[in-house]
Symmetry: C2
Subunit: 68 residues, 2 copies
Amino acid sequence: MTESTYSFKVGMTCSGCSGAVDRILSKTAGVSKYEISLENQTVVVHSTLSKDEVFEAIKKSGKPVEAL
Amino acid sequence: MTESTYSFKVGMTCSGCSGAVDRILSKTAGVSKYEISLENQTVVVHSTLSKDEVFEAIKKSGKPVEAL
């Protein structure tokens, strides 16, 4: 399956916030790799899912998310 | 429907963490009221849902959750 790379702006204010996003993405089937930057408030995801599907997965965290 | 009150220990380390749990519970159908204490790391939920259902809703945040 083709893999795409998507970037999101995610409101994370401490390592507990970024850790929560980490925990969610690690359990999301179809997500192979991701980088979370607390400093830049960004999450970059490599996935066979659609951008919308990844967006919804991150949104479940309750954090403010915006597609970049 | 009968409403029950459930307590959980939730790992929240900043107001972004508690805000995320707040956002999730505010959107969970069947949850009428809740109190989140960042200081005590607790979430008390009044709901017509089962304790397991509320547990799963909070767990979606990616935060460490424990039923009390």
